[in-house]
Symmetry: C2
Subunit: 302 residues, 2 copies
Amino acid sequence: MSWRWAFARHVAQAQRLLPTSSAGGGTGLLGRHHHHMPLASQIRSKEQQDPFELVADEVSLLVNRLRFMVSAEVPKLASTAEYFFKVGVEGKRFQPTVLLLMASAVKFSLSESTEGKVLSILADKLRSRQQNIAEITEMIHVASLMHDDVLDNADTRCGVRSLNLIKGNKLSVLAGDFLLSRACVALAALGNTEVASLMATTVEHLVTGETMQISTSTEQQRSMEYYLQKTYYKTSSLISNSCKAVAILAGHTAEVSVLAYEYGRNLGLAFQLIDDVLNFTGTSASLGNGSLSHIRHVRITT
Amino acid sequence: MSWRWAFARHVAQAQRLLPTSSAGGGTGLLGRHHHHMPLASQIRSKEQQDPFELVADEVSLLVNRLRFMVSAEVPKLASTAEYFFKVGVEGKRFQPTVLLLMASAVKFSLSESTEGKVLSILADKLRSRQQNIAEITEMIHVASLMHDDVLDNADTRCGVRSLNLIKGNKLSVLAGDFLLSRACVALAALGNTEVASLMATTVEHLVTGETMQISTSTEQQRSMEYYLQKTYYKTSSLISNSCKAVAILAGHTAEVSVLAYEYGRNLGLAFQLIDDVLNFTGTSASLGNGSLSHIRHVRITT
């Protein structure tokens, strides 16, 4: 079993761990399929299920909508901005998967009564707003990849040519800005000031993390504290704050939204720690296709 | 009289032209100083007044607050992001001036009654939110200048070295992103979805305009329509939409906010038209110090 599979499985398990989820009983995402099974079988069955499959169809719809959301008027801008959202280039969509699983994990349970049916309409509306968070997260993520590559001047990156080499630094900067502005418009449309502020702060964190990475003193390079702070900003802040946003939109208490945040924080940190260790110990085969930075390494197919 | 002075004076005159302003009578910004003077003298006096002076103190406070708003944690990011906000580098602050004058122009009149005093507190709160729009506009403006300079590879720009040459492309990109994220946080704090959406769209327009400028076909280069569309996106959208935002925050009707938008649109277009003509006919002396792109040309003093 790969470590990536293990991580994603933890998200599915979070449904059991988060306080509100236990109240969900048989109506949770996994529970729906297994509510007649004895507990021991349920746990075994859950452990064998690929968490990516649980929301694969929903992620697929979401990615289609994203392609529409990032379409630009001017051809040159369009082709650059849409590049990472093309079929075959989109990678594993790790972050949308985690966020949709988190949305299921923090779901309130619904009864079968008339009141339950009204609530079910509200629940669909909520789910669609949580999908928006996943879309916004993906746009911010791709924008930051585009901007991080500026001035790398690497002819090849892991054996394949980088977008900036093909499209030029300048267009990558503009396309990244374009994605950020679309993300900001989508955030404004959600109409939740706390969530908008959280997500805007993640952009600041991404920039701070990247700056820390390119301007480290020898002393800082040896500091585990500095490394973890940089890693939080660069890899963990986006997923942790978007997990929190998903819980806030669901109307959860501060306690639950902090749990969601902590989940994302630890997931992001663990992800980057393993990725960094594999830089020293791993081969491209053991690194596989699912890393967070995978999107940068894809072979250009069009 | 310079053309720039003439433009700024038009903003002051807008106080007379906008519908709500005529209701303001002696309580408008200019009226306060002149309400005992006969009408003819008032008009003469208004025409002699430098519009920049009308809000100079307020712009100065605003710029101080901006310096605080753009301060970053990591030293390298801080020095780049704060660069354009330093004393001596800040230029004429044309856009904040126009926006504060617009805020005065769309001001409702207040009576001297108790009710008037309550309203006066609300008016102060509104003014401070309109100042926020000016701050956000300035952050977006500076961020776009930083990103536009990427890959210009010009050793000197109008005789002075560009920021990117000194700080590097990459840091300019990151610092621009940092300013955009701070602008987005400030927008979220305003809690007005329509305004947030308007301002986020201006970032998209700036990017679209820049892309149109760097990727023009020979046919497009000869099209006045294409030129005006590009100019709207690149120079006029930010000032026109922020003028509109100032009117929306004041609770004006769609009619008034569209007038404010049109004012900004025409001001921005006229500004760029003259700037572009001066590229062919003007000397650096006649170009002076007040152009919208002036901030890029300033001599580095520290």
